[in-house]
Structures are given as structure tokens and as C-alpha cells.
């Protein structure tokens, strides 16, 4: 009995008094870990969810809503899921992802009859939506062009900065948004492109620029492409809204097609988060146009090599939905219809919002609301005005004044216009 007591107390003593095993000592492991700042975009939705006001409006995160303010599952997606359910074996996809899905996705970006697809000159891998495509490209850029930088437009989706930062690629910016006109600072953009060292990497939004909604015109894209040629720059297109801008995917890919016609070897990030409503499935594609098939095979192998220690191979489900839809002419045609409906609803809401503000007698011009394109409207609201919208009217948006038009409905557009008018009428 005594022996046991001694043994027990001895072991307890070893456990507790040893400076190595005491909890007090252990808690120093994480002493240096600071709380991370809230993500500016996703944090908005969190705050919105926590708000109990019946009037609240979420025009923060760029996820499409129907006119009742509800998320939408596309009919083509539901049908695809019905066909897929229970049929497939969930074996690992190859590291490059679903071949079928990638094939169909390339057609969307490069054109159905693209010579580059036919000649197998495109290195392409399935990616974790647009974020994943950008990240793998950024890592690829770091590994194979280690001295290079990335030129990022001002402003841009905030996560672009995080992506290239974590890939340890130094960033520079180029002029893009013109606050005075709430349009494109074309001269500033061209100057920056001209002044960048030859062979620089540029991040371009193919259509429906996020967060401004300001896109170059076709003519401007042609000029940009010519200047890129003269400077031998590399164009990396982030295309997250194909179909969402004009309602016509082919038209929305115009900037890319122009660059391809002009002979550029580009990179593209594509996402199905918005245009197929597959947000949570994380399905997209990274492609890099190469000089020939051999190089495409080589580059693809290196893209896979980057993916393997990140996630091994990409998730299957979303890719199956995409290839089921795009591989079936009927479903594909249904999808195209549904994309147009979504885009048209947004265009309609832009018109209504603008007209409502004008009717309220706002002293400001709201022309930009209808000139801008895609899911977002760069309202021109200041952070202080945005804060007032949130605290007084329970309207949630990111502090840069970006309004997600997808969150505007016939039910809330009047309330929104009124609130905006109230916080801006004295400016």
C-alpha cells in the first residue's frame, strides 16, 4: 500500500513538477501565434449571419441569389447530380484531375474548335476553383521564373494579394480603376504596362472585373494586347465570371481570344463557382498555353508536381457535375440558358438601382452602376459610409464600397437605394 502511494506520488511529481511536462510550460508553444485578421470578404457574411434585424441585406460576398434572395442550385446541376448519384467509384482522380472536365473547360476558354486544343499545346490541370488555379500558377511562376514579379491591378480581389504573397512572388501594382470617372484608367494602365520591365507577368481579369465591374472595351483590349506583344509580357487571365458578364460565355472570353489571336502564350484560371453555382465544390481549371505539345506535357507534369504536396489530387464530385453537363448537348444548352437568366437578372437590378437613386434625387451620378458589368458594382461609397450602412441600415458589403449586385432583389432594391441616398446625399 505504502509502495503504491509512493509510486503514485512519484509519478505524479514527475508529471507535474518536471518543467518539461507541466501545462504551464506547454502553453508557451503557441505564445507567438497572434489572432489572424478577419478575412475582409468572408468576414462580412459572418457578421451578416449574426445580425438579427429583419431588414438586413447582404450585398457582401459574390454568391448569386435569385430574386427572393435565395441561393440557387441550377436545374442542369440538379439533373447532373441525379445522373451521377451512386454510380461512380470514388477512386482518386489522376493528379491532373478529370480529363473530361478539363477538355470541356478548355473549350469554353479557348474556343470549341481551338487549334491549340487540337495541337495539344495547352498544359491544363483541374484546380481547386479559381483560388487553387491562381495559387498553383503562382507557385509555378516562383519555381520556374524565380526572379519574376506579378503586376496586380488596383484594386483587385483581395485574395490575389494573399495568393502571390504566400507563393513568395513579389508584387507590383498597375493602375486600373479611375475613381473620378468610376471607370477604367486606360492611360494609367497603358503607361504602367509600358514602363514595366520587358517580360513581366501581369494578372488580368478576363471579364467582369472584381471588385469594380469595370472592363476594358474590345478596342482597348486590342491595344493592351499589342503593347504586351511589344513588351513581351506574360498575361495571366483570371476568368471567374465567364457567362456572368454579358450572359454569353463566348463573348465574355473575348479578351482571351484577342490575346490568343495575337500569338501570346497565356495562362488562365477558370472557375465554376459562380457560373455553374458550384461554389462549395471547388472546381476549376488552370491552363498554360505552350509552344508545342512536348512542352505542354512537360509543363503539365510540373503543375502536377506542385499539386501533389498540396492536396495530392483534386476532388471528384464537382468535376463530375461539370463534365456531365458540358458533355451532354441538352444539359449544356440548359446551362447556357440558366447563365443568361442569372446575368440578365443582375443587369436588370443594375438598371433598377440606378433609376431608384435618380428618382430619389441623388446629387451624385450613378451612371457607373449600369456601365459596370458582372456581379459587382463599385459604388464609390467611402468606408465611413459603408460603416453607416451597416450600423444604421443593416446593409452588409465590403468596406471598399463593393456591392454584390447578385444580392440585390426587387424586394430590397428600394430599401438599398434609400439607404445609399441617405448616407451620400450630403456629399
Amino acid at each position: 500500500m505504502a509502495m503504491m502511494a509512493i509510486r503514485n506520488s512519484a509519478s505524479r511529481r514527475t508529471m507535474m513538477s518536471s518543467p518539461i511536462s507541466g501545462l504551464r510550460y506547454m502553453s508557451t508553444w503557441w505564445k507567438n501565434v497572434e489572432p489572424a485578421p478577419k478575412d475582409p470578404i468572408l468576414g462580412v457574411t459572418e457578421a451578416f449571419l449574426a445580425d438579427s434585424s429583419p431588414d438586413k441585406v447582404n450585398v457582401g460576398v459574390g454568391a448569386y441569389r435569385d430574386d427572393n434572395g435565395k441561393p440557387v442550385v441550377l436545374d442542369c446541376v440538379r439533373e447532373a447530380e441525379r445522373r451521377i448519384a451512386g454510380t461512380s467509384f470514388m477512386e482518386y482522380l489522376p493528379m491532373g484531375g478529370s480529363v473530361k472536365m478539363v477538355e470541356e473547360t478548355l473549350k469554353l476558354a479557348y474556343g470549341d474548335n481551338s487549334e491549340f486544343i487540337k495541337d495539344k499545346r495547352i498544359a491544363a490541370v483541374q484546380s481547386l476553383s479559381g483560388t487553387g488555379a491562381c495559387r498553383v500558377f503562382a507557385d509555378f511562376q516562383k519555381r520556374f521564373c524565380p526572379g519574376s514579379q506579378i503586376y496586380i491591378p488596383v484594386p483587385t480581389w483581395s485574395n490575389h494579394h494573399n495568393i502571390w504573397r504566400d507563393a513568395q512572388v513579389p508584387q507590383k501594382t498597375y493602375h486600373y480603376y479611375h475613381p473620378e470617372t468610376k471607370g477604367l484608367d486606360f492611360k494609367g494602365l497603358m503607361d504602367d504596362v509600358k514602363n514595366a520591365p520587358e517580360g513581366s507577368f501581369f494578372l488580368l481579369h478576363a471579364c467582369a472585373h472584381n471588385p469594380t465591374g469595370v472592363d476594358p472595351t474590345e478596342e482597348q483590349w486590342r491595344e493592351i494586347s499589342q503593347l504586351f506583344k511589344a513588351k513581351n509580357h506574360f498575361a495571366f487571365f483570371d476568368m471567374a465570371y465567364q457567362g456572368f458578364a454579358s450572359g454569353d460565355p463566348a463573348r465574355d472570353a473575348k479578351s482571351i481570344r484577342i490575346f490568343l489571336e495575337d500569338g501570346h502564350h497565356i495562362g488562365i484560371s477558370q472557375s465554376y463557382a459562380k457560373n455553374m453555382g458550384l461554389y462549395g465544390q471547388r472546381v476549376g481549371c488552370l491552363s498554360v498555353l505552350c509552344g508545342d505539345e512536348k512542352q505542354a506535357v512537360t509543363v503539365k507534369s510540373q503543375l502536377q508536381q506542385l499539386a501533389r504536396p498540396m492536396y495530392s489530387n483534386p476532388p471528384l464530385h464537382g468535376a463530375q457535375i461539370v463534365s456531365t453537363i458540358l458533355g451532354d448537348p441538352e444539359l449544356k444548352s440548359l446551362w447556357l440558358k440558366e447563365v443568361k437568366i442569372m446575368a440578365d437578372r443582375i443587369i436588370g437590378m443594375r438598371t433598377t438601382l440606378r433609376e431608384s437613386l435618380e428618382k430619389l434625387g441623388s446629387p451624385l451620378s450613378w451612371e457607373h452602376v449600369t456601365k459596370q458589368i458582372g456581379m459587382f458594382c463599385y459604388s464609390g461609397l467611402t468606408p465611413q459610409q459603408v460603416d453607416r450602412l451597416t450600423s444604421e441600415y443593416h446593409i452588409y458589403m465590403t468596406r471598399n464600397g463593393r456591392i454584390s449586385m447578385a444580392g440585390v432583389t426587387t424586394g430590397n432594391v428600394g430599401y438599398l437605394a434609400n439607404a445609399i441616398h441617405e448616407v451620400t446625399k450630403s456629399s
Binding site: L128, M310, Y311
Partner: protein
């Protein structure tokens, strides 16, 4: 064995120096991915300038996933794939668990139900339902960066046991849904790089090939601790303890929770106690990779006993989990990283930083697999069915082991999906080239890919390769 990935594939494109030593990628001045200087330029038409990626070399085929690709290309009837660790039935077919099939069938129906439910709730202006819906991710909206809450809760409970103090109210464990085991390991590696500058990870010799890639790409230095003893085809326990003791204080020790990959050799419960002792003594941080919970012994709880032992000790540690094998959800990439902290505050901060790492990698994780796991674990009937199916899968593998073990008793002492045969590279090559048996070059076979019917064929192949490989292949193969 733990051979450098660079030694496989098109070696002719790589500078010779790379082949000679096991280069730790990203740590030296020269970039092993770029070709040596002289190479021919591709002639192109006038309007197209030479690519800036001209100097990029072909990456070698992955030593594990590349095996399956070679297997697919083989037209021989007798071919056998013992490469990648994916479970097969006795008929050598992939296996979708019944619970998963049922859930998937329900999913499409339930999304219809859900839409009408949502419209109903909308009329009630209930923000809580919306909260719940977004929370559950049923509408395919983005999950939060940390993943599906129901999944995170379920996965921590599975690992530590439902009533465990560390997860009571989930305060002390930071759990983030990750992209299966790989993605979860990568998040942890990035956290280590960011907050434990200079700290090293010790990995077993050998270990899963992708562990090194993960730490290399995350720029975390690593070294090996002795593990496999080729003489006994067992655990080099003395060597393991010695190497852990010798590591600088505060190192991370990567441990396989159960069913060690690739050897199939696990420490005994007594040995686990000693391992915990020495880790505590040296103030190291344990880092568990749990990819086979339930698959090793057939029991979820038993397979988690090593992790739970460490939790009992009040230690702070990492655990990466994967549901690829035990729920057959390979392709959906579902797993989790858990960081056990000694305070709720620390867990909160750690979780926020893990999210900050995930956001620029993929923003938020895929929903499909998470929902399946959460639903299976959350429903008593389905959970029971799953446990039964897992026992069946583990049982089949044990049976195959027993059949093979009649000739090779060491196979009986190993556990889990894999078996280290002790064959060297030349012998493994003979297995493939002569017998169309696909396995990894380190001598690892996946018993999950083997049926009772094929055991004799495999036995013949092994015996032939063991004795005769060096006769068939005259040129010694470089490692």
C-alpha cells in the same frame, strides 16, 4: 525504400549531380527543376517568341500514382495492381461503401426537398434556418474557410472519443477541414514554417513518399529517425528511440497513428508508452498522421489508441486525418488537421492562422465529402453500418495476410493495407516486368489490391523475383 523521387523517370534531362545525392528540394542554390544550360532551342514561327518556360524539365512520374498509370497501360491479362493503396473487393473491384451510396442517392432528392423547405422558412423570416442551411452547406454555397462545422465536430470526436476532455465544447482543439491527409499535413507544415522557424520534422525511415514533398514545398527542414529494420523486417525500436532522443529539443516527430505506411509495422502499446515518454522528455511536439483509423484493426477506437494515449498525457500535438480509405472517399479529398492546445485561447488563435494559410491555397474546402462524413457519423444507424463495413474491409485484408503469411510470417506481424515485402528495387522491377505485378519500387505491396484467388500467383512471383531477379537484369539499376 525511401528513394529520391528525382531518381525515377526521365533521368536524362536532369543534371547528373541531382541523381547522386538525395537533394532536399528548395534548400540549395541550384534549382533542380531547371535543365543544365545547353539545350536546343525549339524553332518557332516568327511571330511567336521562345517560351519563358523553355528550360523546364519533365517532372518524374510519381512513384506511387505513376504505378497505377503504368498498370492501366498494361494489356496483359494476368496483371495485378498492388501499387496505390486503394481498397478492392475480392473481385478486385473498387468498393463504394453502402452508407455512402445511400447518402448520395438521398442527396439529390433532399436538395429538392430543401429548396421547398427554404421557401417555406423564408416566409417565416427565420434567419436561424438560413444560418443552419449555410452552415450545413446543402445549397453548395461556400463552406467557411475552416470547413463544415458538423464535419469538424464529428471528426474530432471520432479521433479523441466523444466524451474526451480535450474536445468537450471543442475548446482545446483547433480543427480545420483539410484536403484529405495531404492537404491537412500541408496546412500543419505551413503553420510550422511560419511559427516555429528553424524547427525540424523527424519522419520515419521509410515513410509515405509524399511526406517529404509536403515538407519540402512548405520549406520545413526534415530528417529521418530509424524505423524499419530490414534484418528483422520489423521495428528498429532502439534506433527509433535513440534518434528521437538525439533530435534538437522542440522538434516535431511525425508518427503514423496506426497501420504504418509503407511497412505495416506498428509499435506495440508498451512501445507507444516509451515513445511518449521520450517525446515528453525532449519537449518535442508529436505530429500524428492518421490515414487508416478503423482500417488497421477494424475498430475505430482501437486504432486511435496511440493518439488518445498522448492526449491523456496533456500534451500539445498535431493530428492529420484522412477519410480516403476508411470511408472510401478517396476522390472527394476529405480530412482534417487537429491541433491540440493547452488553452482555449491558443486553440482559437491557432485556428485563425490555419485559416489564413488555407485561404490563399484554395479559399475554402470542398463540401461533398465533408457532408458525407458528417451524415454518416451523425446518424446512429449509418454509423453502425459503417463500423460493420470497416470491420469487413479490414477483415478481408487480414485474411489475405494470413494466406500469404503461411510462407512469410513477418507479413502476419504487419498491420493495415500495406506490407513491406523486403524486395529490393531490382526484384520489384522483376515483379512488374515479368509477372505484371505492379507495386512500388521500395517493395511495398497493397494487400487491399489482392484477392484470395490471386495469392498463389503473387507467391510465385515473389519467390521468382527474390531468387532470380539479379540473373534477369544484368545492368545494376541505379538508385
Amino acid at each position: 525504400m525511401a528513394s529520391s523521387m528525382l531518381s525515377l523517370g526521365s533521368t536524362s534531362l536532369l543534371p547528373r549531380e541531382i541523381n547522386k545525392d538525395k537533394l532536399k528540394l528548395g534548400t540549395s542554390g541550384s534549382n533542380p527543376f531547371l535543365k543544365a544550360k545547353s539545350f536546343s532551342r525549339v524553332t518557332m514561327s516568327v511571330s511567336v517568341k521562345p517560351s519563358r518556360f523553355e528550360s523546364i524539365t519533365m517532372a518524374p512520374p510519381d512513384p506511387i500514382l505513376g504505378v497505377s498509370e503504368a498498370f492501366k497501360a498494361d494489356t496483359n491479362e494476368l496483371k495485378l495492381n498492388l501499387g496505390v493503396g486503394a481498397y478492392r473487393t475480392e473481385e478486385l473491384q473498387p468498393y463504394v461503401l453502402n452508407v455512402v451510396k445511400r447518402l448520395e442517392a438521398l442527396a439529390s432528392f433532399s436538395s429538392l426537398l430543401l429548396i421547398s423547405f427554404i421557401h417555406f422558412l423564408n416566409r417565416m423570416a427565420s434567419f436561424q434556418a438560413e444560418n443552419l442551411m449555410l452552415e450545413r452547406g446543402d445549397n453548395k454555397e461556400y463552406l467557411p474557410i475552416e470547413g463544415l462545422a458538423a464535419f469538424n465536430k464529428a471528426t474530432a470526436e471520432l479521433l479523441f472519443g466523444a466524451g474526451h476532455p480535450v474536445i468537450k465544447e471543442q475548446k482545446y482543439v483547433a480543427t480545420i477541414q483539410g484536403l484529405s491527409g495531404t492537404g491537412s499535413l500541408r496546412l500543419a507544415a505551413a503553420l510550422i514554417e511560419r511559427y516555429f522557424a528553424g524547427a525540424k520534422v523527424l519522419i520515419s525511415a521509410p515513410t509515405w513518399g509524399n511526406h517529404k514533398n509536403i515538407f519540402n514545398d512548405a520549406k520545413v527542414p526534415w530528417s529521418e529517425y530509424r524505423y524499419y529494420d530490414p534484418k528483422t523486417i520489423g521495428l528498429d525500436f532502439e534506433g527509433m528511440i535513440a534518434d528521437i532522443k538525439e533530435a534538437p529539443e522542440g522538434s516535431f516527430i511525425l508518427l503514423h497513428g496506426c497501420a504504418h505506411n509503407p511497412t505495416g509495422i506498428d509499435p506495440t502499446p508498451e512501445q507507444w508508452v516509451k515513445i511518449a515518454d521520450v517525446i515528453q522528455e525532449k519537449n518535442h511536439i508529436p505530429f500524428f498522421d492518421v490515414a487508416y483509423q478503423g482500417f488497421a484493426s477494424g475498430s475505430l477506437d482501437e486504432d486511435a489508441s496511440s493518439v488518445r494515449l498522448f492526449a491523456e498525457r496533456g500534451m500539445e500535438f498535431f493530428v492529420a486525418q484522412s477519410y480516403s480509405k476508411n470511408l472510401g472517399l478517396y476522390a472527394e479529398r476529405i480530412g482534417a488537421i487537429n491541433v491540440v492546445c493547452s488553452s482555449a485561447d491558443a486553440a482559437t488563435r491557432v485556428k485563425s492562422q490555419l485559416k489564413r494559410i488555407a485561404r490563399p491555397m484554395y479559399s475554402n474546402p470542398p463540401v461533398h465529402g465533408a457532408r458525407i462524413v458528417a451524415n454518416v457519423v451523425g446518424d446512429a444507424t449509418m454509423f453502425g453500418e459503417w463500423k460493420a463495413e470497416m470491420e469487413m474491409m479490414a477483415g478481408r485484408i487480414k485474411t489475405v495476410r494470413q494466406k500469404l503469411g503461411k510462407d512469410w510470417s513477418f507479413i502476419l506481424k504487419q498491420i493495415g493495407m500495406f506490407s513491406f515485402t523486403g524486395l529490393n528495387k531490382a526484384q520489384s522491377d522483376n515483379m512488374t516486368n515479368k509477372w505484371h505485378v505492379y507495386m512500388t519500387k521500395d517493395g511495398r505491396i497493397s494487400l487491399a489490391g489482392l484477392s484470395m484467388a490471386k495469392c498463389e500467383y503473387l507467391a510465385d512471383a515473389i519467390i521468382d523475383s527474390y531468387h532470380n531477379a539479379l540473373l534477369y537484369w544484368e545492368t545494376p539499376i541505379e538508385l
